[in-house]
């Protein structure tokens, strides 16, 4: 097991390196000059050039890339041009917000998505199946931005259940934290619930048609044990894979949600950084997020191995 984890970890290293180079390349293609933004709008060409030199933007592209990679190797992600702090500290400051959002949305998604998908599969080709799948289709189709605005108007303005925006750290109490993050997480989970319920239905339909399910029923096992224990457990492999994808999607999807709900998370920071051409911040954040996604996939692979003994023998 340890060997498998080590191998998978080593396989992830080149992926992270490629991500870092891609981040650098993509950003270098963007028009716009960070030196102009930093120097100020009325700055003289000489002042702009001075800033460009300070930032190393006057150096050849390959030299800039080499310096960036060498710094990374030493754990130096650089400093943000607009926040005037290290990229790592900027990301770490905002990580609790994005992680809270992603984790809570996943905690909504998994039970609801699996339950709905299982119910739809069990009652396949009935009105229940149609209702669940239509709802799931809506979930994956409705734009998050639009539903978020509706959510604010309904739950915050009309019902007054939750604040309209802002984030309360969990250190200030679980209740206020939950109130500040519940609605954004719920909105973020709608798409994911739709996605996971469809995946679960498909996996469950496949499993429920297997011989061993028929055998279990013939032996007189209750439906609850047959479906809940035997079928769902075997469908779990597909669900684990889907959850990994969903967690990555939740972090990606947080950009829009953080914007609407004014949450000081990583997604919002990246948008501002791109607009301001804050190269180090965008590159560093992309790299950290890339690394996070790689780690999620690695974890999924390990869970997959644990859930399915056949994978270990492979």
């Amino acid at each position: 097991m340890i060997r498998i984890v080590a191998v998978k970890f080593l396989q992830a290293v080149p992926v992270v390196v490629i991500i870092s180079i891609l981040a650098f390349l993509l950003l270098s293609l963007l028009p716009g000059d960070p030196a102009v933004i930093i120097a100020g709008e009325q700055a003289s060409p000489a002042a702009i050039e001075q800033v460009r030199k300070q930032l190393g933007l006057d150096r050849p592209f390959l030299e800039q890339l080499t310096i960036w990679l060498l710094n990374l190797a030493q754990g130096n992600f650089g400093s943000s041009l607009i926040l005037h702090q290290s990229v790592l500290s900027a990301v770490v400051e905002r990580l609790p917000v994005t992680l809270s959002l992603a984790a809570l949305s996943i905690s909504f998604t998994i039970p609801v998505g699996v339950l709905l998908g299982s119910v739809a599969a069990y009652f396949r080709r009935t009105w229940i199946d149609s209702l669940v799948m239509t709802t799931a289709l809506l979930g994956v189709s409705i734009p998050a931005f639009w539903i978020a605005i509706l959510g604010v108007i309904l739950f915050s303005v009309q019902l007054g259940w939750v604040p309209s925006s802002g984030f309360v750290p969990i250190s200030q109490g679980a209740g206020p934290w939950f109130a500040s993050i519940a609605l954004p997480a719920l909105i973020l989970s709608l798409f994911q619930i739709g996605f996971l319920s469809r995946m679960t239905r498909s996996a469950m339909l496949d499993v429920l048609g297997q011989d061993y399910i028929r055998t279990a029923r013939a032996k007189g096992l209750s439906e609850w044990r047959t479906v809940g224990k035997h079928a769902l457990r075997n469908a779990l492999i597909l669900i684990i894979t889907a959850t990994g994808i969903l967690l990555s999607a939740a972090i990606g999807g947080s950009v829009i949600i953080e914007q609407v709900f004014a949450l000081p998370g990583i997604g919002r920071m990246v948008v501002q950084a791109i607009l301001a051409r804050d190269y180090p911040l965008v590159q560093g954040t992309m790299l950290i997020l890339g690394f996070t996604f790689v780690m999620i996939n690695l974890t999924v692979d390990i869970l997959y191995t644990l859930a399915d003994p056949r994978v270990r023998h492979d």
Partner: protein
């Protein structure tokens, strides 16, 4: 001294965000001020820096102007009035300016402000600020005593005080201890009525009442950015909410008592509530079509004038949305450099495609494409340029509309880079102060080179000893800029802000957010 802006204030936007005014019905509130409470103000985004010498965006300035003060400032009519200086006087030859400082003024760290702090502030400003070139003509400073400060110039400058009162890249007075601090790296210590509390990036910023604030007792009450300032609120909490819907929701459910920038199409959500009100803050900016005079077709004045002749202002105003009013001048009505009801040139809102075609013919136009650049960040800019494109087509011009992001668009306009003939932006609020603030924008955005008449008019302006003489020079400047269609004026624009009627003490001065003399019922 001015700059280009986006109308809805993001990282690069510059505008007068909020000018607190009378309630919507126009009645003056007569309640007795009440001390205490925290005002929550929902703004579009957080500041990038609180270093005043590097600050040009509205979201920065609306914090900074409550924390720091300058030697002179704008009064309610945008004329110069003293603030930290009790008196300011120029020598007859306009080469020496002497400031008598107010005594007993305290910084937030408890130290008294003296001429040493003023001198250190000027020196730091000249070292780091993007607007330092405004003070290149300074030869040296003198501090004869702790309350006297003298600026000696290499050459006469009749508008130095006008420059000093600029609310953008404001020359606020900092403690001398900040003199050698790098840009954006100061301790936030000023003499303003509020002091710095806490700042959680992307979330909120808090400023608290400075109990040792020394008000200008020489004034009967508040006056523009200056006068006698009184602080009733315990604190102000700025919350950063990029989405208008969220800001409105915060106002509706009581999370905020004041919000910025409401799109006109959403204003009914506020007006339908009896406990809330909406206010037109006007004028805030002036919107213009920028014509790149160094780029291909539009280097030809006849082509530029043909474009001007094709423009229908009313169509643009209707299509772009928001709060707009026609004004052919480059200054707002009621300001010292506003020159009257008639237009400075015959080129405003001609909407005459036939004349445009005639000018194109004279120019030898052969259906080459006029490249219009706009951005996806600001709807009003995009709408404006799409309408302009149709108007130019109707006048027989071939156009190519290119849409980029605001950062790129702004950089292209300011640096003359990129492949564009026309673009748009809005200027303000600095240009309300006068032609000296307009100058960098006039030359930079349309990239005017080698216009001797314009150079001469500006040369006259800077040595004109009286306001009347300077106004005459300003008329010549506008005739050159608008008549040569380097800039094509669209309209003066404003914005809508929302507030709870619990918030009292607002006045009608449309300056950057001023939080003194306000209280919560």
């Amino acid at each position: 001294m001015s700059r280009c802006v986006a109308r809805r204030g993001v990282v690069l936007a510059l505008s007068l965000i909020i000018g607190l005014s009378f309630a919507a019905n126009g009645s003056v509130e007569a309640q007795q001020p009440r001390k205490g409470g925290t005002l929550v103000y929902a703004s579009v985004s957080g500041p990038g820096t609180l270093d005043p010498y590097m600050a040009s965006s509205a979201v920065e300035l609306e914090v900074i102007h409550n924390l720091f003060e300058s030697l002179v400032t704008l009064d309610a009519r945008n004329a110069t009035r003293p603030m930290l200086a009790a008196k300011a006087a120029a020598s007859e030859d306009f080469k020496t300016y002497t400031f008598e400082l107010r005594k007993g003024v305290k910084f937030h760290n408890g130290q008294e402000m003296t001429s040493a702090d003023v001198k250190a502030s000027f020196e730091r400003y000249r070292r780091i600020s993007p607007a330092a070139k405004n003070y290149e003509a300074i030869d040296h400073f003198e501090t004869p005593d702790p309350y006297s400060f003298v600026i000696a110039l290499k050459e006469p400058n009749v508008v130095l005080l006008d420059t000093l009162k600029s609310p953008i890249y404001p020359l606020m007075i900092l403690p001398a201890s900040q003199k050698d601090k790098p840009a954006r790296d100061i301790e936030v210590i000023g003499t303003g009525p509020y002091k710095f509390g806490e700042w959680v990036k992307d979330s909120h910023l808090v400023i608290v009442r400075f109990d040792d604030y020394v008000a200008d007792t020489g004034a009967p009450g508040r006056d523009g950015y200056g006068g006698r300032k009184t602080v009733y609120l315990d604190a102000v909490r700025y919350r950063f909410m990029p989405e208008a819907t969220t800001r409105i929701a915060a106002l509706q459910n009581g999370e905020a008592q004041l919000i910025s920038s409401i799109p006109s199409e959403l204003s009914a959500r506020v007006t339908q509530r009896k406990d809330l009100a909406i206010r037109e803050v006007f004028p805030v900016l002036g919107s213009y079509i920028i014509v790149n005079s160094q780029k291909g077709l539009t280097a030809n004045v006849l082509i530029r004038q043909a474009i001007a002749a094709a423009i229908n202002v009313d169509e643009i105003i209707e299509g772009a949305g928001g709060l707009n009013k026609r004004n052919p001048w480059m200054s707002f009505p009621g300001t010292p450099y506003y020159l009257g009801e008639t237009a400075p040139t015959p080129w405003y809102d001609i909407k005459d495609p036939a004349r445009a075609k005639e000018l194109l013919k004279q120019a030898g136009y052969k259906n080459e494409k006029i490249i219009i650049e706009t951005n996806s960040n600001y709807q009003w800019m995009r709408s404006t340029m799409l309408i302009v494109a149709e108007q130019l087509k109707a006048a027989g011009m071939a156009v190519d509309v290119q849409i980029t992001d605001w950062t790129t668009n702004a950089a292209h306009m300011q640096q003359g880079t990129g492949d564009w003939n026309l673009s748009t932006t809005a200027f303000g609020p600095d240009h309300i102060l006068g032609p000296q603030q307009w100058r960098p924008m006039i030359y930079t955005f349309p990239h005017i080179v080698g216009n001797e008449a314009l150079d001469k008019a500006y040369g006259e302006f800077f040595v004109a000893p009286t306001l009347e003489a300077r106004r005459a020079s300003w008329l010549k400047i506008q005739k050159e800029v608008l008549g040569g269609a380097y800039l094509i004026k669209i309209a003066d624009t404003g914005r809508l802000s929302g507030y709870s009627k619990k918030l009292q003490g607002q006045n009608d001065y449309a300056g950057v957010l001023q939080l003194w003399d306000l209280w919560l019922e």
